[in-house]
C-alpha cells in the first residue's frame, strides 16, 4: 500500500503545469470558443508532445501503454488550465479503438491520436459529440456498432462556450460491431473527473488570491469569517474528491469511477458557485478569465454521465 503519486508523476504534473502556465491558455480558449482552432491545435500538439494522449494508447499502437493514473494526473492539469478541445473524447476514442476485436482500425487511427497529429471525438447516436467541427476522427456509436462518421451538424452552443457540440452524421465506414462501450465510458468518466478536479482547484486558487487582495470596508475580504468558511468548505470538497479520482484511476472499478465523476464534478461546481459569489460582479463577466472555469464546471457535471447516472452505478456497484 502506497497511495501516493511517485516522484515522476509529480514531476510530470509539474512540467505540464509549467508548460500550460506559459501557454496563455485563456487566449487559446477564447479563440477556440469562436471556432478559431489555430492556437488550440498548436497547444494540442504540445500537450501530445508531453505524452498525454499516448497514456491512453497501447504500445503496439505507438502509445506508452494504457496508464490511467498518469492520465488522470495529466487531466487534472488540463482542467486546471482550462485547456479546450476534445481531450476527454480523444482519450475515450483511444480506449474504444484499443479494444475492438479487429486491430485494423486501431492500427490505422491510434498512432495519430497518440502523437497529437489528429484529434478525435466520440458520441452515442443522439448525443452530442464535442468539437465535431475540429476533429479528423469522429466515432459514432450505437449499441451494435461503431462507425467513422462522414461529417457533423451545426455547433450547438453550450453554457461553456469552449465546448462546441455537434451531432455526427449517420452512416460512414463501419469500424466494428459490438464496441466495448463500457470500457470507453470508464475512461471518459475518469478523464472528466480528473479534468473537473483540476477546474475546481483552479477556481479555488484564483478565488483565494482574489479575496486576499480585494478590499471592502477597509480590509481584505479574505479576512471575513464567512468568506473563509466558504473557501474552507470548497477545500474540503476538493481534497476529498482528489483521492477518489486517483483511486478510481488505480482500480478502474466502475463504481469507483462513477463515484469519482460525480464527486469531482460536484466539488468543482460547488467551488464555482463559491468563486462566483466571492468575486462578486467581476466574476460574472465573460471577459474576466474566471468565467472560463466557471462555465466549464457547470458543463462537466453532465458530460459522460449525469450525477444521477453516476450515483445509480454506485448503489448498484
Amino acid at each position: 500500500m502506497r497511495f501516493l503519486l511517485d516522484t515522476e508523476q509529480r514531476a510530470f504534473a509539474g512540467s505540464l503545469d509549467a508548460m500550460l502556465t506559459a501557454a496563455d491558455t485563456p487566449s487559446v480558449v477564447r479563440d477556440w470558443s469562436r471556432g478559431d482552432h489555430a492556437k488550440g491545435r498548436a497547444l494540442w500538439s504540445r500537450v501530445a508532445g508531453a505524452g498525454v494522449f499516448a497514456l491512453a494508447v497501447p504500445e503496439e499502437y505507438e502509445g506508452v501503454g494504457r496508464l490511467p493514473l498518469d492520465l488522470a494526473v495529466a487531466f487534472v492539469e488540463l482542467g486546471r488550465h482550462a485547456v479546450p478541445g476534445p481531450l476527454v473524447e480523444t482519450v475515450t476514442a483511444a480506449a474504444l479503438l484499443s479494444e475492438l476485436g479487429d486491430p485494423a482500425p486501431a492500427k490505422r487511427l491510434l498512432p495519430a491520436l497518440a502523437s497529437g497529429e489528429s484529434m478525435a471525438t466520440v458520441a452515442r447516436r443522439g448525443s452530442y459529440a464535442l468539437d465535431g467541427d475540429a476533429v479528423a476522427v469522429r466515432l459514432s456509436l450505437t449499441d451494435g456498432e461503431v462507425r467513422l462518421s462522414p461529417g457533423h451538424g451545426p455547433v450547438r452552443a453550450s453554457l461553456d462556450p469552449a465546448r462546441r457540440r455537434t451531432h455526427l452524421h449517420p452512416g460512414g465506414e463501419l469500424l466494428a460491431t459490438a464496441p466495448p462501450f463500457a470500457t470507453a465510458l470508464l475512461w471518459a468518466r475518469l478523464a472528466t473527473a480528473a479534468q473537473a478536479l483540476g477546474v475546481g482547484l483552479a477556481l479555488l486558487d484564483r478565488t483565494v488570491a482574489y479575496v486576499r487582495q480585494r478590499t471592502q470596508f477597509g480590509v481584505p475580504i479574505g479576512s471575513f469569517q464567512a468568506v473563509k468558511h466558504r473557501l474552507a468548505d470548497a477545500k474540503v470538497a476538493l481534497e476529498f474528491a482528489r483521492p477518489l479520482v486517483l483511486g478510481a484511476a488505480a482500480t478502474l472499478d466502475p463504481a469507483d469511477v462513477a463515484a469519482a465523476k460525480v464527486t469531482a464534478c460536484e466539488a468543482a461546481y460547488t467551488t464555482a458557485r463559491t468563486a462566483l459569489q466571492l468575486h462578486g460582479a467581476i466574476g460574472y463577466t465573460a471577459e474576466y478569465d474566471l468565467s472560463l472555469w466557471l462555465t466549464k464546471a457547470r458543463a462537466l457535471r453532465t458530460a459522460w454521465g449525469t450525477p444521477g447516472e453516476c450515483r445509480a452505478v454506485v448503489v448498484s456497484g
Binding site: Q225, T285, E287, A303
Partner: protein, 379 residues
C-alpha cells in the same frame, strides 16, 4: 386575516388575463440583453403602455392604474403566468420612479415618467464603481458644481441595461472630504448619449452585454436633473434600495410561474422520482414567497414601514431562484448544458442574485445584527 382577493381585484385579474391572452407574443422575444431583443422589448413596453399595463401601480395621470400593492401582485401573477416578456423598463420603473414619487419635483415627474412608462426612455442604473461593491458608500465619482448644473466625472460599472439604454441615474460625490463617506453624495439623472459619456458594454457569463462600464468626463447635467437636495443622495438612494430589496424587485408571480413551469417539465419527463423532492421544494418555496410577500404587503398597507426584514426576502429569493434553475437543468440532463434552452438564460441571470442589490453576506450580517440583535463590528 383574509387571504382572498376582493371581487374588484379579481375583476382586475380577469381583465389583465384577457389582455395578456390576446397580446403576449406566441414566440419568446429575443433576449433583451441583445440589441435586437432590446428593441423588441422596448416595443413591447409601448404595447403594454398603450393599454395602460406597463406601470399599473402608478397614478393614472402618469399612465398607470393606481393599483395598490395587492393589485400589483395580482398583475404580476398574471403577467408571469402568461409567459409575458421580461421588463426592459424595470430599472426605471422599480428603482427610479419610486424615488421620484417620494423625492422628485412635480416638474421631474411630469418630464420623466411618461416616457418611462412607454419605454420611449429606458433607464439604466449607475450605482456601483470598481472599488465600491458592497461598500457602496466609498464612491468616488464626482459631481462638480458649474453654472446651472453639475459636471460628472469618474467611472461607474455593473450598470445594468446601460449597453442599450437612454439615460441613467446614480450617486456622485459632490462634497469631497466629508467626515463620513456616505455624506456629500448627490443623486443625479444623466443622458447616456451626452458628450463626455463613454459606454463600454460588459458581457455577462453567457456573453450577452447585460451591463456596461460608464466612463464620465465632465458630463454636464442641469440642475433640474438633481433629485432631492444636493448632498443628500445617500439617504434618498437608501430609500430606493430598501424598496429594491423589498417588495417590488422580485414579484412572487415570477417564481410561481417558474415553479409551475418546472413542475410541468418534471411531469412531462415522467415524474422522475429522484428529482421529486426538489420540484416539491420549488413549488413550496414559491408559495412561501408569495405568502411572505402578502404578509409584508399587508403590514405595509397597515402603515408599517418595512425595514431590515427585506434582507430576509433578498436571501430567500436569490437562493431559491438558483435552486429552482439548477433543478430544471438537472431535469434536462445532458441537454441542460446547452446555452439556448428555455432555462439557460434565466439560469445565468439567477446566478447574479446572491451578489447584486447587496451581497447575501451583507444581508446575513444585517439579519443577524438588526433582526436578531447580535453584536456588530466583527465580520
Amino acid at each position: 386575516m383574509d387571504l382572498t382577493n376582493s371581487p374588484a381585484d379579481e375583476a382586475f385579474r380577469a381583465e389583465a388575463r384577457a389582455w395578456l391572452d390576446a397580446h403576449v407574443p406566441a414566440e419568446p422575444l429575443p433576449s433583451l440583453e441583445t440589441e435586437e431583443g432590446f428593441a423588441a422589448h422596448r416595443a413591447w413596453e409601448a404595447e403594454l403602455a398603450a393599454d395602460r399595463w406597463s406601470v399599473v401601480s402608478w397614478p393614472e395621470e402618469f399612465g398607470g392604474r393606481g393599483a395598490d400593492v395587492f393589485r400589483w401582485l395580482v398583475f404580476e401573477e398574471e403577467y408571469y403566468a402568461a409567459g409575458a416578456p421580461g421588463r426592459v423598463g424595470q430599472n426605471g420603473i422599480s428603482l427610479l420612479a419610486p424615488t421620484l414619487f417620494e423625492h422628485g419635483t412635480e416638474e421631474q415627474r411630469a418630464r420623466v415618467l411618461p416616457s418611462m412608462a412607454t419605454g420611449e426612455t429606458v433607464w439604466a442604473q449607475a450605482w456601483s464603481e470598481p472599488e465600491a461593491g458592497s461598500d457602496l458608500a466609498s464612491l468616488t465619482s464626482r459631481a462638480v458644481r458649474t453654472d446651472g448644473g453639475w459636471l460628472l466625472s469618474g467611472q461607474k460599472t455593473w450598470s445594468s441595461r446601460a449597453a442599450f439604454a437612454d439615460r441613467a441615474f446614480g450617486l456622485f460625490r459632490s462634497e469631497p472630504g466629508t467626515p463620513r463617506p456616505h455624506q456629500g453624495l448627490t443623486y443625479l439623472m444623466f443622458d447616456l448619449h451626452a458628450p463626455g459619456v463613454t459606454v463600454r458594454p460588459i458581457g455577462r457569463l453567457d456573453g450577452k452585454p447585460a451591463f456596461a462600464e460608464l466612463f464620465l468626463d465632465e458630463v454636464l447635467v442641469p440642475d433640474e436633473d438633481v433629485i432631492g437636495e444636493p448632498g443628500q443622495g445617500w439617504r434618498i438612494a437608501m430609500s430606493t434600495t430598501a424598496e429594491e430589496r423589498g417588495l417590488t424587485l422580485r414579484s412572487p408571480g415570477r417564481f410561481l410561474a417558474a415553479a409551475d413551469r418546472l413542475a410541468a417539465l418534471w411531469r412531462e419527463g415522467g415524474e422522475d422520482p429522484f428529482t421529486r423532492d426538489r420540484v416539491a421544494d420549488a413549488l413550496i418555496g414559491a408559495r412561501a414567497y408569495q405568502l411572505f410577500t402578502y404578509a409584508a404587503a399587508s403590514r405595509s398597507a397597515a402603515g408599517e414601514r418595512l425595514g431590515p426584514e427585506s434582507s430576509l426576502n433578498k436571501v430567500f429569493w436569490s437562493e431559491y431562484d438558483i435552486a429552482l434553475h439548477e433543478t430544471a437543468l438537472d431535469l434536462l440532463g445532458e441537454e441542460g448544458e446547452s446555452a439556448d434552452t428555455g432555462w439557460s438564460e434565466s439560469y445565468v441571470f439567477s446566478l447574479a442574485g446572491p451578489v447584486y442589490a447587496g451581497t447575501n453576506e451583507i444581508q446575513r450580517d444585517i439579519i443577524a445584527e438588526r433582526l436578531l440583535g447580535l453584536p456588530r463590528g466583527r465580520r
